[in-house]
């Protein structure tokens, strides 16, 4: 089984983002960038499937500016076999990304896609579902547990009502939720070795895909800010205040 792990390079999750003064977007210059945390979990799951002998090859890819190579190298340092970098300067949006991924999957003969359920920058939560639709494959989103049984997989999904288990035929697209696993830290020797692992560099045009964004951002603003209220001294005072306001 060949696994593809699509990865997005995003503003690091510890960074408090700032809206640009011209309201054109958020500040990304001189800001720490990292692998999207949900993709890191997907990358870890793929490596575990390879270590268990279930998967034979684990390919990491990223679509975007040249620096996306960094997050692919990180995935390789964690344990992926090789990388595919699809370079583009246009803003990557889910539908365009899904079309490029479809082309990669068909070219590489991929049997399973593991990817994050959403990117923590645009928070779209779409690409995995769109990809499985374009491939006419089944999907299992928000995965918290994956069991591969021959030509199918049982996936536990984190849903609003609790934990739902579905069975999907393979090939399939599975998107990871937070509790699927705890990703490993790549060891230093592996980080060094990752620099020499194979990396194909492509463009969307190589795959015949038009990535022109369909969604235009007109402006980006700060959310309305909530200001801190008052400190109360005791439980009795708290209850009194809440009663006075009709909250309880």
């Amino acid at each position: 089984m060949k696994i593809l792990v699509p990865i997005k390079r995003v503003v690091d999750y510890n960074v408090k983002v700032r809206v640009k003064s011209d309201n054109s977007g958020v500040e990304t210059a001189n800001v720490k960038m990292s692998m999207n945390p949900f993709d890191e979990i997907a990358a870890e799951e793929a490596i575990r499937l390879k270590e268990a002998g279930t998967a034979t090859e684990d390919i990491a890819d990223s679509i975007g500016e040249a620096k996306c190579e960094e997050v692919i190298r990180t995935a390789i340092a964690m344990g992926a076999d090789r990388g595919i970098l699809v370079k583009t300067d246009v803003e990557t949006q889910p539908l365009g990304v899904a079309k490029v991924l479809k082309a990669i999957i068909e070219q590489e003969g991929i049997n399973l896609v593991l990817m994050g359920k959403q990117a923590i920058d645009d928070d779209f939560n779409q690409t995995g579902q769109m990809l499985s639709a374009l491939l006419n494959w089944p999907q299992a989103t928000f995965a918290s547990n994956i069991t591969i049984n021959g030509d199918s997989a049982e996936v536990a999904r984190e849903v609003d009502a609790g934990s739902e288990t579905i069975k999907v035929n393979l090939p399939a697209v599975i998107t990871s939720d937070l509790r699927l696993n705890e990703p490993r830290y790549p060891a230093l020797p592996n980080i060094m070795k990752a620099r020499n692992k194979p990396m194909d560099t492509k463009t969307p045009e190589d795959y015949g895909v038009d990535m022109t964004p369909r969604i235009k951002t007109l402006k980006v603003e700060e959310p309305s800010v909530r200001t801190a209220g008052i400190k109360v001294e005791s439980t009795a005072e708290l209850i009194e205040k809440l009663k006075a306001q009709g909250a309880i």
């Binding site: 928070d123 769109m130 609790g162 288990t165 035929n169 937070l178 369909r214 809440l242």
Partner: protein
């Protein structure tokens, strides 16, 4: 313009999230509601009674019993040509199949709509709600998922007709195995009037009983939790409030032993009144709280139970 809302339900009851979604849809045009389920007549009848609904489409087939994305998406695409917009609630129900619908129609999707600016322009949160983007789509059919807390619930009082639509059958690609819920019989976290949530400070699964006792004393109060509490195994994932988990905006939100990570704030900062109880006076939850109490939760919770 005609708008189609995909109803969320459990084959017996219409979920409140559908009512918020109908309010958003009514800003765009005449609203039809699709109820796709199995033995779901009661849901279709409930949807027909919602104010502002013109017509209910009912697709009753075993293939729709568990809202499998592959089956739902095929059905919705079949119906899509009659509509300018298709809306669903932005939760684990809507987010699962709506992008699939969009891709099959070769259009984009706008997730987490907070505000309808015009028929093609919408506001949505990015970076866990730390910025609000105004976005415009050029696609012919607009596929939207709606942040339910940003729209009021549509009221009852309508009398729409219910029309049967043919099933598109089962894709054979996936199947439902089981659903393990927490078995919670309390108020629904996503739509209750009040929420009391526990965090890492609760220190154990057993201590959540203290939260339950206080919740029982407050009218229509659901129990929630932070990611840290869920990760630590104190409580199951369906209680999680936050960026991943449920987005809530009750009249009253009480955060107990929760430090206030950005990801948690993203799920509750639109609540009307926020109360924070934490022994760390520097906890960032206090920055958004209307009432902060710096104290040990193991003292405060029993006191609250007695005073309420």
């Amino acid at each position: 313009m005609k708008v189609l809302v995909i109803a969320e339900h459990d084959n017996n009851n219409l979920k409140a999230s559908t009512l918020n979604t109908i309010t958003a849809a009514a800003k765009l045009g005449d609203v039809d509601v699709l109820v796709a389920g199995s033995n779901c007549s009661a849901v279709a009848e409930a949807a027909a009674k919602v104010n502002g609904v013109a017509k209910v489409l009912k697709a009753d087939d075993a293939a729709y019993a568990n809202a499998l994305a592959e089956n739902l998406a095929t059905l919705i695409c079949e119906l899509s040509s009659n509509y300018s917009h298709i809306l669903a609630p932005s939760n684990t129900f809507g987010k699962n199949f709506m992008p699939r619908v969009a891709a099959l129609l070769d259009v984009s999707q706008i997730t987490d709509v907070l505000e309808v600016v015009s028929e093609d322009t919408f506001k949505r949160p990015i970076y866990a709600g730390n910025a609000i983007a105004t976005v415009q789509t050029s696609d012919s059919i607009k596929i939207l998922t709606v942040r339910t807390t940003a729209f009021e619930k549509a009221s009852e009082g309508g009398s729409a007709s219910v029309e049967d639509v043919a099933s598109k059958g089962d894709s054979g690609l996936s199947s439902f195995v089981k659903l393990e819920g927490s078995g919670s019989e309390g108020p629904d976290l996503s739509s209750s009037r009040a929420v009391i949530s526990g965090g890492r400070g609760m220190a154990s699964k057993e201590n959540f009983v203290l939260i339950e006792k206080v919740a029982a004393k407050i009218n229509d109060c659901a129990i929630g939790a932070s990611r840290a509490a869920v990760d630590a195994g104190y409580i199951s994932n369906d209680y999680q409030v936050g960026q991943t988990g449920k987005i809530v905006a009750p009249e009253l939100y009480i955060a107990v032993g929760i430090s206030g990570a950005i990801q948690h704030l993203a799920g509750m900062k639109d609540s009307k009144i926020i109360v924070a109880i934490n022994k760390d006076e520097n906890a960032s939850i206090f920055e958004v709280a209307d009432y902060g109490l710096v104290a040990d939760l193991f003292d405060v919770l029993p006191e609250m139970e007695n005073l309420l």
